[in-house]
Subunit: 344 residues, 3 copies
C-alpha cells in the first residue's frame, strides 16, 4: 500500500468504474458495484485489490494470488484462480498504468504565485498555474495553464512553456520553447550554451551559441539531465521522448518522436535520431551521426558511425548485436585457449 503521507488514494472504485477505465465490459457474473480499495502487486494483493499480470514469468505467483481483480491478457485467463475476477485486455501493463493513475492521480495544483517566488512583471502566467516558493521567472517568459513551477526552479527570460507542464525543484531553463504536458525533473538544465569553441594553444575561443532548445509535447526530461541549446540551428526533442536521469544532449542534436534514452546516455553535437530510437544506459554517440528510426543501441555502447533504421547494435565501438555477441564469445574462447600454457 502506498504510504499515505506521500500518496492520496482517490479510491475505492467499483468494478464498473475500473472496467470503464480498462475499456472493456465487466465480467458477466460479477456484481458491477463491487468495490476495490486499492491496487497491489500479485503477491501482496487481497480480495479488495486490483492487480495485473504482464510477464509469463510471474504465472506461478498469479496462480496463487489472492487479488480480487486482475488485468490480464486473454492467453493466460484460464490459469487464474477460481475466485479471481479478470479484465482481459491486449496490453495489461498499459491498462494497469491507467487504473493506477485513477487510484493515485497527481496532487491537485494549488494555483497561485508563492510570495517568495520572484516573477518578473513582464512574465505571463497562465490560469491554474502554480509558481512555488523560491522559483524565479524571468522577463518576458510565458508559462501556460495548469503548470507547476517547482520550488527554486529558474525559468529564464523569454522562455515559453505550454500547458500542463511540470518543472520540478531546482531545474533551470533558458533559451528554450516547451510544448504541453512536458515534465522536467529536478535539477535538469535546459538551454545553456553548448560546448562550442575554437580550440587553440593560444587559448580556446568560445563561439556564440545562438540557437535554442525546442521540446515538443509529452516529453519527460530526467533529473540532473543537461540539454544544450543549438549553435545556429535548434536542439530539438521530439514529441513523446522519454529521457532518463543524468543524460547529456549536446548542441544541435535532434531527437525524433518517442525516443527512449536510459540514464547517463551521452549524445554529441549535431547527431540526429529518427523516431522510437532506444538507447541503453551509459550509451554514447559521437557527433554528426544519423541514427535511423527504430534503431536500438545497447547499454554502454559507443556508437561511431551511422545506424540504419531498425538496426540493433552493441559494444564499443558499436557493431550489430549479433556480431557483438560473437565477438564476446570469441574473446572468451581465445582467453581460455591461451590460459593453460599460452603465455609465451
Amino acid at each position: 500500500m502506498p504510504d499515505s503521507r506521500f500518496f492520496s488514494s482517490a479510491g475505492p472504485f467499483s468494478l464498473a468504474d475500473i472496467a470503464a477505465i480498462a475499456g472493456v465490459a465487466p465480467p458477466e457474473a460479477a456484481d458491477p458495484g463491487r468495490s476495490f480499495a486499492d491496487i497491489a502487486p500479485l503477491d501482496q494483493a487481497e480480495a479488495n485489490h486490483v492487480s495485473f499480470l504482464d510477464n509469463r514469468k510471474y504465472l506461478p505467483v498469479f496462480e496463487k494470488s489472492k487479488a480480487g481483480l486482475c488485468i490480464v491478457h486473454p492467453d493466460v485467463a484460464e490459469r487464474a484462480p477460481a475466485s479471481m475476477l479478470l479484465l482481459q485486455v491486449d496490453k495489461p501493463y498499459r491498462v494497469y498504468a491507467r487504473i493506477a493513475a485513477a487510484f493515485y492521480p497527481p496532487r491537485p495544483i494549488a494555483p497561485g504565485i508563492s510570495p517568495s517566488a520572484s516573477v518578473d512583471a513582464s512574465a505571463k502566467i497562465g490560469g491554474g498555474t502554480c509558481v512555488e516558493a523560491g522559483a524565479v521567472v524571468g522577463a518576458g517568459a510565458e508559462i501556460g495553464e495548469r503548470c507547476v513551477i517547482g520550488p527554486n526552479a529558474v525559468i529564464g527570460p523569454s522562455v515559453v512553456i505550454g500547458n500542463d507542464c511540470r518543472i520540478d525543484a531546482g531545474a533551470s531553463l533558458s533559451h528554450c520553447i516547451l510544448g504541453s504536458r512536458v515534465i522536467v525533473y529536478p535539477g535538469a538544465r535546459i538551454g545553456q550554451d553548448g560546448f562550442g569553441f575554437h580550440p587553440d594553444p593560444e587559448g580556446h575561443l568560445r563561439v556564440p551559441q545562438l540557437g535554442r532548445v525546442v521540446v515538443q509535447d509529452d516529453v519527460e526530461i530526467g533529473a540532473n539531465t543537461t540539454i544544450d541549446r543549438g549553435t545556429n540551428a535548434d536542439t530539438v526533442i521530439g514529441a513523446g521522448c522519454m529521457i532518463d536521469n543524468l543524460v547529456q544532449i549536446a548542441h544541435n542534436v535532434e531527437l525524433g518522436r518517442g525516443c527512449v534514452l536510459a540514464a547517463q546516455v551521452g549524445i554529441s553535437g549535431s547527431t540526429k535520431l529518427g523516431d522510437y530510437v532506444f538507447i541503453g544506459g551509459q550509451g554514447g554517440l559521437t557527433g554528426h551521426l544519423t541514427i535511423g528510426t527504430g534503431a536500438r543501441i545497447g547499454a554502454q555502447s559507443g556508437v561511431m558511425r551511422d545506424i540504419a533504421p531498425g538496426e540493433t547494435v552493441g559494444g564499443s565501438p558499436a557493431v550489430p548485436v549479433v556480431q557483438f555477441h560473437r565477438q564476446t564469445t570469441a574473446i572468451a574462447k581465445l582467453a581460455k585457449k591461451r590460459a593453460p600454457s599460452g603465455d609465451r
Copy 2:
C-alpha cells in the same frame, strides 16, 4: 596548512589529548603536555605537527620527515627518525581521520530558520537545526535535531529526516525517509519518479511511481547524484553506504549495508546489492540483478548477470577479473600477431 578562511582549527592539542583520541597511551619518555599545533603530510610536517604513515610506498618520505608526532603501524616503527614521537595503532589512516576531525571539526551549527527560507507552518523542525537562506521545507515535513538544510535546498512535503543530517546547497528531496547522520551533497536529487512507463508506438504511458526512497543511517550521497523512488516497493539505501557524485540509482534498487559506489556508476531498476559491494567509477548494472555481499565490480564494468558473494568482475560485458585480464592479454597478442602481414 588548511586555508584559515575555510577551515577553523580547534588546535593546538597536547600529546595526551591526541593519544586519547587514538585510544593508545602516549610514548613513555615523552612529555604528555607537549603541544601540537596542526596536522600535516609527512613531507610538509614540522616538529609541532602530527602526521601519519599508512602506505609502505612512503617509507622513504617517513624516514626523512620532520613531523614531531606520527601515527604508524607497529611494523614500521623502527624505521622512524630518532626525533619523531610515535603512536602505534593497527589502522593508522583511520586514527588519523579521527585526529584530523578533532583539529578541524565541522563548523558549529547556528540553529534557526533564515528569514529568506520558506518553511511550511505544518513542518516540524528539530532543536538545534539550521535552515539556511532560500531553503524550502514543504507541508508536513519532519526534520530532526542538529541538522543543516543548506541554502536553496528543497525538502518536499512529508519528507522525514533524522538527527544530525546535512542537506547541502540546492539538493532536493521528495517522497523519502532519511535516517540519522545522513549527508546529501549539493544538487543531489532523491525521491523523484523513476523511469517507469509502458513503451508503445502509440505513445509511451507513464506508470505512477508509488513507492519511496528509504535512506538508512550514516549514508553519504554525492553531488548531483540521482536516486529515484520505487514503483510499488521502496528504493532502499542501506546503512553506511558511501555514494559518490553523479551516480544514478533507479527505482526499486536496494543497497545493503556499507556499499561503496564510485562516481558516475549507474544501477538499473530493481537490482539488489548485498552488503559491502564496491563498484568502480562509471560501472553500470542492468536491471533485476542480484549482486552478492562483498562483490567487487571494476571501473567501467558492464554487469549483465548476477554476481556471487565475494566475486570480483571487470569488463563489459563483465566477467571474473582473472578472465578479464586474460582476455585483455589475449586480444593484445592477437592484434600484435596480425599486425605485420595478417591483414588478409
Copy 3:
C-alpha cells in the same frame, strides 16, 4: 536568424568594422561602408550576411552560397562565387567566432543585488556586478567586478571570485578560489568534500577534506559538473580549461592549462594532467595517474596507467590508438572466422 526573443543583435556592422574585427584590410574594390545585417550559415546567408568556410567538406555549398561576405582561408579564395566579398585569414572559424560575438554580445549586466537575493553583510561585491533573484552569498565571500551571480546560485562562505565571471542558475560553490573570466554553468557543484574515507566493515569513516578548489582564469565548467575540493592539497583547474557537462573531477586532481574534457568524463583522485590534454566523452581515468601534455584520450576510454606527452589512446583498458584499432579489427575477424562452424 537567431530568435530575437533570446538574442539581441548589435548589428548592422560595416565592412570596415568587420574587417577590423578580423584584423585584415577590407577587399580593395569594395565599399568599406557596405552594411551587413547579420551572420548566417553558408546555405542560408543572403547578400547582407556574413558567413564563413572552415571545412573543405562544405566547398560545394560555399561555391553556391549567396553570402555577401565570407571569412575564408586564402587556399580556397579562388573557389568563391563572383559576387562574394572575402576576408582571408589563417583561422576562419576563430575569426568568425569574434565576428559572431560582435553581432551578438552577451546581454549587458544590470548591476545590483536583487531584493530576493541573500547576501551576507560581510561579503564584498565588486562594482558592476549583478546578484540575481534568490542567489545566496555567504559570509566573507569576495566577488569581483562585472560578475553575474545567477538566480538561486549559492556562493559559500569565504569563496573568492575574480572579475568578469558568470555563475549560472542553481550552481553552488564552496571552499574555492576562482580567477577572472570564469564561467560556471547551471547546476555545477564546486568545492564540496571529496569521496575520502577509511573503508572498513566496522563502518566507513570520513576523512576531513581540508583543501580547496583553485580555478584559474578563463575556465569554463559545464552544467551539472562536479569538482570536489582537495584532501590536504588543492584540486586545481588550469587556465583556459574547457570542461563540458556532467563531468566528475575528484579531490586533488590537477589540470594543466587549456585541457578539454568532453561530457561525462570522470577523473579519479590525485590524477594530474599536463597542458592541452583532450579527453573524449565518457572517458574515465583511475586515480594517481600522470597524463602528459598534449595527450589525447578517446571517448569511453578507460585509462589505468600513465600516458606520455602527446600520446593518443583509446579503448578500455586504454592502449595506444593504433593498437586499439588493430585490436578492434582483429576481434572482428576472429568473430567472423569462428561464426560458421567454430562454435565447439
